[in-house]
Amino acid sequence: MKIIKPILGFTAFALGLLIILAGLSYLFVPRTNTQAAGMEEIIANGIQGEPANSIDVVVVGDSESYASISPLLIWKDTGYTSYVCGSGRQYLSYSKTLLERAFENQSPKLVILETLCIYRPIPSKTIVMDEVSRYLPILRYHDRWKYIAQHGWSTSGGEVYTSPYKGHRLNSKVSGVEPSNYMKETSNIAEIPVYNRILVEQIQEMCQEHGAKLLLLSTPSTVNWNYQRHNGVSALAQELGIEYIDLNTIPDQVGIDWSTDTYDRGDHLNHSGCVKVSQFLSNYLEGTKLFSDRRNDSQYANWNTLLQNYETDVSSGKGDQR
């Protein structure tokens, strides 16, 4: 009997705390996806500002994804709509969260997962925090106190954010590299962290539930990619029955010139490299026969406007200023 009282006491305390945190969560969750409303990673979350069911292809991944893929160039080539939910040093757990959010409003037929985050170990603290914050979003959005302190509480909606480049980040600077030992063939396999393997499986299940195909894509990077990692992802893709394309292994088809197509000595592609990868993807997407050309659809007219703006930005050297 002695033990019952403290157990009941702790349970009551924990329940009370959960109720308070749930109440705070309600107050702290951003009402819209804008930075002013307290949303994190607004470019990656900009897909929430897109009209419902308007995106054909969703890309998730870290900086490699938003540097290498331009949805507006794919639109120009094919008339397919895509969005890059990419953020710097993205953890795979966050890729999953972004995808969950995308599926709330969109029904993409294809999801592309850029593979570098598969190799990024997730700190245990982040894993726990990600899982708990699904149920108690205050843990994710607690920093909104700064916004609330300045603007006060608001429970209504408001302006939404949409990315002008659909998640892509333009960088036209050139800082080339002469790669050595890049993609030197080996049978060694770089081990994928266990939790990340589980996350890939969960992402695959999520895609299947929403009727989307999952594609694993390794974009070109001399700094971040190697044959061991290629082997690791190939093995995983084979095991799970997921299609995998490694652009690092098919330089002839992509045509990356490392002296001109990178802005940081092989770490990321610049605009010139992005054009080549986007062109490759356009061809791939056309080959899937999953999508229809929307260039003449009046509901998508603003994509043409955005494309014009993008091309103006490129030609005016906006990407050189980054």
């Binding site: 033990i3 305390f13 009370g16 705390l17 308070i20 945190l21 705070l24 702290f28 994190e40 990673e41 700190p123 245990s124 603290k125 982040t126 726990v128 925090m129 914050s133 205050i138 843990l139 994710r140 607690h142 920093d143 106190w145 700064k146 302190a149 300045q150």
Partner: protein
């Protein structure tokens, strides 16, 4: 598991240990503590746990050996003729000193090898290059087991205390193992003495609700200090210290102040978690901080900051050097030459210099740490020298040295000197530290602060306000503690609805204002790296 702030520690190891400890009989509790301690060590440092096991076994064995020699010596002395006693005593002392020397060679040698060989060999190579000698010394890189700097000092102090007859050698290996490896003290101390904790740990006292709540409160307070303030300042400090050449003197000075705050909040917060964790089990670890920023002099500061390290150096380095025969001779000569006031100050400064060299080196194997130690030595030495002059001058000018304004000025002076020292402590190398200090002197402008540009480098206005408000709260808490108010016990004395409300408020404060999640980099406890 990386620290006391990791979910594995706070949500698994600590609660599981507490629950098991609470439901097991007394004799099994000590086993729970020892197993939890080794589990913690293994979770942080993996197979490097062999170093802790080796230290425990060797210190235990050397302690017993010392004890045996002491017993033999006592027996021999009891049976010896009066004229033989002096020689026997000398012989016994020599043998015992041999054991101490052996222990120092093994344990400090191991610490030096693992922690300092990289530094010494790298500097050796620089010297060889400077002398245009073609040789290159191989520079190995070793993994450091967690807490080696802390448990090594505990091991050595145990053995020296046995040698000095202050304590008896422990025949019980497991009690000694628990004393050296107790998990709440493992990461950042406090550096405990055998007589302070060993027996209490071995007794494994019954858990009480009072200790449980007091310990829990202290853990929560420590987490708030670390996660709300220390971790919040991290990004700004990181930016300024890694790219100081982009900032002018005022920003560098602000970064030095912020780092001093960060270090205090981080270290004292971790110690709060350590002491709170131990208190859950009914074990009182020694305090390591006593409101250091209330200090009026640098000497006083070091009596209030990292207290257990300071007392360790005092007992095992300062006294060792100052009470040695050559130093005693030097003191009597200096007393004749410089008078009774300055003579002892000058000779004790030799021991002081040894202490501060060791203090600097203990913190890390780099020149900026050595400089940090020498800087504090210079401040304390100068303080000792000019103290009589200050007393004379203030008396002549009829200045009351206990007046509040005078005390505030002294406290501010001490705080500024500490912040300058921490600039070198945090700088990425001594050269960068000197350049940063030079920039503070030659490139000073308040513009980045007045225009708000400073807020674009990892810390915004609300961050600064939050830190400032917290510091004000901390100041009043410190003031109350200086007057003997025990806030933890005050909370405990309140009716339970008020207590529960306080706990909920503290947890919500931590959840909302903690610097964690997106936009923040998790920061491991700073002193765990030393």
């Amino acid at each position: 598991m990386s620290s006391y702030f990791s979910p594995q520690y706070l949500a698994l190891l600590l609660p599981a240990s507490v629950c098991l400890y609470a439901i097991t009989p007394q004799k099994a509790r000590r086993v729970i503590l020892l197993l939890a301690s080794y589990l913690f060590f293994w979770a942080v440092s993996g197979s490097l746990i062999v170093f802790l096991l080796f230290s425990t076994l060797s210190i235990h064995h050397l302690g017993l050996w010392l004890d045996m020699l002491q017993q033999n010596s006592k027996r021999e002395l009891a049976q010896a003729e009066p004229d033989q006693k002096k020689a026997l005593k000398a012989k016994a002392k020599k043998q015992q000193r041999g054991i101490i020397l052996l222990a120092v060679v093994i344990h400090i040698g191991l610490l030096l090898t693992l922690k300092y060989s990289h530094f010494f060999l790298t500097n050796g190579n620089s010297l060889l290059r400077f002398l245009h000698l073609p040789a290159i010394l191989p520079v190995p890189t070793y993994l450091l087991p967690i807490g080696i700097s802390f448990y090594t000092l505990q091991s050595v102090s145990y053995l020296i205390d046995v040698y000095r007859g202050k304590i008896q050698a422990d025949k019980n290996l497991f009690r000694l193992a628990l004393f050296l490896g107790f998990f709440p003290q493992m990461m950042e101390g406090p550096i405990c003495r055998y007589e302070q904790t060993a027996q209490r740990l071995w007794e494994a006292p019954k858990m009480t609700w009072n200790n449980f709540f007091l310990g829990g409160q202290r853990i929560l307070w420590g987490i708030i200090k670390k996660m709300v303030v220390a971790d919040r300042l991290n990004m700004f400090i990181l930016n300024v210290f890694s790219g100081y050449d982009q900032y002018n003197g005022s920003v560098i000075a602000l970064a030095a102040v912020c780092y001093t705050i960060q270090l205090y909040m981080d270290f004292s917060g971790t110690i709060d978690v350590a002491l709170g964790s131990a208190q859950l089990f009914g074990v009182a670890l020694p305090e390591n901080f006593q409101r250091p920023f209330f200090s009026r002099t640098i000497s006083e500061f070091w009596q209030r900051w990292h207290i257990t390290l300071g007392t360790w150096f005092k007992d095992y380095i300062f006294y060792l050097v100052s009470m040695s025969k050559p130093m005693k001779n030097l003191t009597s000569k200096a007393r004749k030459r410089f008078g009774p006031r300055y003579g002892p100050i000058l000779t004790s400064s030799v021991a002081l210099l040894c202490v501060w060299l060791c203090n600097g080196l203990w913190h890390g194997s780099a020149w900026n740490y050595i400089f940090f130690g020498l800087y504090h030595f210079a401040l304390i030495f100068t303080g000792n020298l000019i103290q009589p002059i200050v007393i004379q001058v203030t008396e002549r000018l009829h200045i009351d040295r206990n007046h509040l304004a005078y005390r505030i000025l002294q406290t501010m002076k001490t705080t500024i000197l500490v912040c300058i020292g921490e600039l070198f402590f945090r700088a990425e190398g001594l050269r960068n530290g000197l350049k940063m200090a030079w920039r503070m002197v030659t490139d000073w402008s308040f513009a980045p602060i007045t225009t708000g540009n400073v807020f674009a480098h990892g810390m915004d206005g609300p961050d600064l306000i939050l830190v400032a408000v917290f510091l004000v709260v901390l100041f009043f808490v410190g003031l109350a503690q200086e007057r003997g108010v025990r806030l933890g016990e005050r909370i405990m004395a309140k009716p339970w609805p008020i207590r529960i409300a306080v706990y909920y408020a503290a947890i919500c404060f931590l959840v909302i204002f903690g610097a964690y999640g997106i936009g923040y980099i998790p920061v491991d406890p700073i002193y765990a790296g030393f």
